[in-house]
């Protein structure tokens, strides 16, 4: 009798706790899709609507993934929530919209010119956002490297306000429509009843190469190695001859460039931009970074895609006014069930 009860393993409460710790987050994430899948099956008999949600979610999620990488890189290396990052993304949108309207791209432009025009816009947007982010680091974060942790957070919020105001003065306080260059709503082809549109192709088609280049750079190049070393231990990195300041600047530059690319895709995909997109987008992307495990690049991409789907499902089923509340509820639930995120965080404190 006694032996049997011992071999039964830990008590039920502990096993439940272990189960929640391991699978709780996954269960929570699956609630929305599963509920609506059942609803769709009972109403329409197929999953087309959910499929369309997930398709749009993945396209949006690709954008959030790009922004989330910026958060995660910066958090990994200086342990700072870069509140201004969302605004850098917003400025990326504004710069790209401003640039391609200035060089005269319009929906009537021939495909060849359009392709190179947009490529140029992408480069410009990435450069502008990257430089902006690096500049913010230089002005607002570097002087405070040894100050209490709250200080750079506050300057980040300060810069976020300044950039929001720049956006407000630039394009006004309402959503501004911009030319639909790529004919984003045009149906490209259909799989299982789910229509794939131009916008989806653009979003995936830009995000994947950019992600591959960025992750390869960080994992293979010398500078990327320096970045990872600095993230692990800045003092030891400095002893090994790594220029920590340059490396941190570089991190902000890369994060800003990805945000700039995201800004262009967002502008083309949504065909509207406004000054507040950075704040909401930034918070969504930060949620994505936390969900995947902060400091973890693959986690940020995974988190971005998941958050994109949640956001689309919520937009489509619950109402877009509630989406921020839904996304933030998910953030809180992640924090309750698995603060270290889906793929585990990679920061100095984590180890």
């Amino acid at each position: 009798m006694e032996a049997a009860s011992i071999s039964a393993g830990p008590p039920v409460s502990q096993r439940i706790r272990a189960f929640i710790g391991t699978y709780g987050l996954v269960v929570v994430l699956l609630i929305l899709p599963v509920v609506y899948a059942i609803q769709d099956l009972s109403n329409d008999g197929n999953l087309v609507r959910l499929g369309e949600n997930i398709n749009a979610g993945l396209s949006n999620g690709a954008i959030w993934a790009l922004v989330a990488i910026g958060y995660t890189l910066v958090y990994g290396i200086v342990e700072l929530i870069n509140f201004a990052h969302g605004e850098v993304f917003m400025i990326g949108s504004f710069v790209s919209a401003g640039f391609f309207m200035t060089i005269g791209l319009s929906p009537e432009t021939s495909a060849f010119v359009l392709f190179f025009g947009l490529l140029l816009t992408l480069l410009i947007a990435m450069t502008a956002s990257g430089m902006l982010n690096a500049m913010i680091e230089r002005v607002a974060y570097r002087p405070l490297r040894n100050a209490p942790k709250l200080a750079p957070l506050i300057t980040a919020v300060g810069f976020s306000f300044i950039l929001q105001n720049v956006g407000l003065l630039w394009k006004g306080g309402t959503q501004t429509g911009i030319p639909d260059l790529i004919n984003a709503q045009h149906t490209l082809f259909t799989i299982f009843g789910v229509t794939i549109q131009n916008g989806d192709l653009l979003s995936i088609g830009v995000t994947i190469p950019v992600l591959i280049v960025a992750t390869t750079f960080i994992s293979r190049s010398r500078l990327g190695k320096a970045m990872r070393a600095t993230a692990q231990d800045p003092d030891a990195a400095r002893l090994m001859g790594i220029n920590v300041d340059t490396t941190i600047s570089l991190t902000f530059l890369i994060g800003g460039m990805l945000a700039g690319a995201a800004g262009l895709i967002y502008a083309l995909y949504q065909t509207t931009i406004w000054y507040f997109q950075g704040f909401t987008g930034g918070l969504i992307a930060f949620t994505a970074a936390v969900m995947g495990g902060i400091g973890n690049l693959r986690g940020a991409v995974l988190g971005g895609l998941i958050i994109g789907c949640i956001q689309q499902i919520s937009d489509n089923r619950i109402g877009s006014a509630w989406t921020p509340a839904v996304v933030f509820s998910y953030l809180v639930l992640i924090m309750v069930f698995k603060p270290s995120g889906l793929l585990g965080e990679q920061t100095r404190d984590a180890g």
Binding site: L144, L153, V157, G158, V290, A321, V332, R348
Partner: protein, 396 residues
């Protein structure tokens, strides 16, 4: 983990910031400042906008002192403080307006209210009871918000509280769509208005023409909150907060109950936010969902950082300074400057920029705040050798 690594160089024994004043000065200052401030309205008209600005500044001071408990004493960065403003204001709106117009068969419910409001439909409760209700509601909300953050580290706490603040703001804005038995949850961006004026026993109901009673009531709240803050800081609980802030593991090892202590910090801070929220709901005569935005949380946080985290008088100074910048300097003074130098825009358009610039400059030039707390100041002063003497001098 710690950013302030010890310098191997020979310790310099100087540079310990020493105050010349005896430690009881800061408490003795309370009655002096309160009496001087109480005389202020006599120099202005009873309905002067300056009195209004001052009253709002005092309400903000109450909030800043509340947030100071959470962020300054306990070191839990709360970016969603607006939630407690909202909860306090909605308590005032629910319990003191015609919002629930159908209760009691259109007659309304009344509890200890005076003549003009006792005939109106809706729920009308005496303001002192509303304040008690606001304290309870906000403290419960504070504990609920605090619960998921218990296991988390600094920045994650910030983001979770921010999320809660945004969720509550969202509910406030969209609440007019949620109908429970035909009754919307909130009035959305239209706002619950009018809200009952403060009606104290043995006094005339407060009016909008004579702002002096409002001012004195707000001053009374500040006095009460100052007392609470000083007593809490010097209590066993206050020392436990500081211990948790400085080193959680060490504090827990010394027997500080981390969960209870943190939740008490959230609850106490939230309760003070609720008081100020209820007061502002009544004073501004509206409970409007667009008040409850992220910007507000940052405004209050900026107040305590400007003044000096954890330093009570610093926070009072910071709150008054920033609310005057917000309510008076930017809209009244700076507004004409661009047109005078020939630029075609209003300064109110760049309020956010001015704020952002102030935040950045403040942090770069004086990260410890205007009147820093001694212990925080000690942390910032490098090369200070920690001895028994420095520890004791940092206590007060």
């Amino acid at each position: 983990m710690s950013a302030t690594t010890e310098q191997p160089a020979a310790p310099k024994r100087t540079r310990v910031p020493k105050s010349k004043l005896p430690p009881w000065t800061e408490k003795a200052l309370v009655p002096v400042v309160l009496i001087l401030a109480a005389l202020l309205p006599f120099f202005f008209d009873a309905g002067d906008t300056f009195i209004q600005t001052c009253t709002e500044a005092l309400a903000y001071t109450v909030m800043a002192l509340g947030l100071n408990i959470v962020v300054g004493f306990a070191g839990l960065l709360d970016l969603g403080y607006v939630a407690f403003f909202a909860i306090g204001a909605y308590t005032a709106g629910y319990l003191g307006s015609g919002f629930f117009s159908n209760v009691g068969g259109g007659e309304g419910w009344h509890l200890l209210v005076g003549e003009p409001t006792s005939n109106l439909p809706g729920i009308h409760v005496n303001f002192l009871l509303i304040i008690v209700a606001a304290i309870i509601a906000a403290a419960i909300a504070g504990v609920i918000i605090g619960l998921p953050t218990l296991r988390l580290r600094g920045d994650y706490i910030a983001i979770v509280t921010l999320a809660f603040g945004e969720i509550i703001g969202r509910i406030a804005i969209q609440g007019d769509e949620i109908k429970i038995g035909g009754q919307p949850l909130t009035a959305g961006r239209q706002g619950i208005t009018p809200v009952d004026k403060i009606d104290l026993p043995f006094l005339d109901p407060f009016g909008l023409l004579n702002l002096r009673p409002w001012y004195w009531f707000a001053l009374g709240m500040v006095g009460f909150v100052l007392f609470v803050n000083f007593r809490l800081r010097d209590s066993r609980l206050g020392r436990a907060w500081v211990a948790l802030r400085e080193d959680e593991i060490a504090a827990v090892a010394m027997g500080v109950p981390a969960v209870k202590t943190k939740l008490l910090a959230y609850g106490a801070g939230a309760a003070l936010g609720g008081i100020a929220g209820a007061f502002l709901g009544s004073f501004l005569n509206t409970v409007n969902a667009s008040q409850f935005e992220f910007f507000f949380s940052i405004l209050v946080l900026a107040m305590i950082i400007l003044g000096g985290l954890g330093s009570i008088w610093g926070v009072v100074l910071g709150a008054i300074a920033l609310s005057f910048i917000n309510r008076w300097l930017i809209p009244d003074v700076l507004n004409d400057v661009p047109s005078q130098i020939g630029l075609d825009f209003d300064a109110t358009q760049i309020t956010f920029s001015i704020y952002g610039f102030l935040l950045v400059m403040m942090m770069l030039l004086r990260p410890q705040g205007l009147l820093p707390e001694k212990r925080h100041k000690l942390e910032l002063a490098e090369d200070v050798e920690t001895t028994d003497a420095t520890l004791y001098s940092a206590r007060a």
